[in-house]
């Protein structure tokens, strides 16, 4: 396979045009697929996230992708819900996820200064070095839209403060996840995507 043949896992026809436009802007080539062979043969995999955790897990199950994703050896990036799916469990409809990275997603509680969903620009503190963030400026801003969050664990490489402090970037081996949307996060987001496809 050529370098930078990215497979975007889309098991359920969700709207991922923002992501594909962002990849077009950095001149990356990709396919959108739920075919096992195409995903396994790709150089990089992106697991986008739109919708609810249980729906997304159902769709992965129906396409027989649970074990396929778990066993990926190439750099793999989960975005937003896609990052949460890498964890053990999500409180969103109480669903078991892929258990690639340790952690259980919880819901934000509604608070005066911190409405739910958490929506908008927020900064990310790189608490641990990672190849994904080495070209980025610490404490730079990224664009978030989410109601559930991943707890801070040994796998957290970026941390963000809202009503709770939470893991905004995670990594374990070849698996990476960002709670924010790099495809909507201006130049810093483009830089992160470019770094990822060069891993």
């Amino acid at each position: 396979m050529p370098k930078n043949s990215i497979a975007i896992v889309n098991a359920g026809g969700s709207n991922i045009s923002s992501l594909t436009f962002a990849l077009d802007r950095i001149k990356a080539s990709y396919i959108t697929t739920n075919q096992i062979a195409q995903i396994e043969d790709s150089s990089h995999v992106i697991l986008p996230g739109v919708g609810a955790a249980n729906d997304a897990m159902d769709k992965l199950k129906k396409s027989n992708l649970i074990e396929v994703v778990r066993n990926l050896k190439q750099p793999t990036l989960g975005i937003c819900l896609g990052m949460q799916l890498l964890l053990d469990h999500s409180m969103e409809n109480n669903v078991n996820c892929l258990s690639i990275i340790e952690g259980r997603c919880k819901a934000f509680s509604q608070q005066d200064k911190c409405p739910v969903p958490h929506m908008g620009w927020n900064n990310v503190n790189f608490n641990k070095a990672s190849p994904l963030t080495e070209d980025l400026d610490n404490d730079d801003y990224f664009y978030f839209v989410h109601s559930y969050y991943a707890p801070i664990t040994n796998s957290s490489i970026g941390i963000t403060d809202y009503s709770e402090s939470f893991a905004s970037i995670i990594q374990k081996d070849n698996f990476y996840g960002t709670q924010f949307h790099p495809e909507k996060s201006s130049d810093q987001g483009s830089k992160l995507l470019r770094t990822f496809i060069n891993l």
């Binding site: 709207n15 045009s17 005066d112 969903p117 929506m119 909507k184 201006s186 483009s190």
Partner: protein, 244 residues
Amino acid sequence: MKDGQVVKGIQFKNHEIVGDIIDLASRYSHEGADELVFYDITASPDRRSVDRKWINLVAKEINIPFCVAGGIKTIADAEEVLNYGADKISINTPALKNPDLIEQLAKRFGSQCIVVGIDSFAIKNNYKVHLYTGDPDQSKESSKTTNSWISEVQDRGAGEIVLNCMNQDGVREGYDLGQLREMRNLCKVPLIASGGAGKMSDFYDVFNQADVSGSIAASVFHKKIIDISDLKKYLQKKQIEVRL
């Protein structure tokens, strides 16, 4: 937006063309805007929904979130706009004509992408919501006070409120701080100030004195009176948290 061009008026009248949609979108995202909002101002007065061809072009061009408004009256209208690549939709006149629409949209797409725009006209300290504001001949007062409508749209699931203070629109004499402060106290969701920005200190005042979550401006950017990156550096110096 009108006929494929970006236009700007004064107090919602006498609109003049200020530029091409894609050129301006690209310029503002490079200057450091955090979000762009596109109003198809004649959609509701013309009884049509927003013309959508340009949404896809904008989505391809810029790498920041954007919101589209203009005659979104149904779930299908909203779905189409979001599928073309908009991150949020904003409804104004259609929400006043059919308040249930807010609930339907929030349930289907989530509150995070449902913005309610409110055009508020002040007579002394009485604030009334107006509709069909995109066309001066049709613009009229609704039966609702701004205060009651702000509470109602949140109860119905709005995730964000943009308050256009009509008296201040396009005149560049500063935001309506009194009105915004009063309405801020009614808001659990982000309140975005709109209408009246003329100089950098107006932005400082609206964040500092009205505690809004964001501010929208058009004329000062369209007419190149204020550069967005200069504005953000100024705000940061004044201890307002901004993304640089």
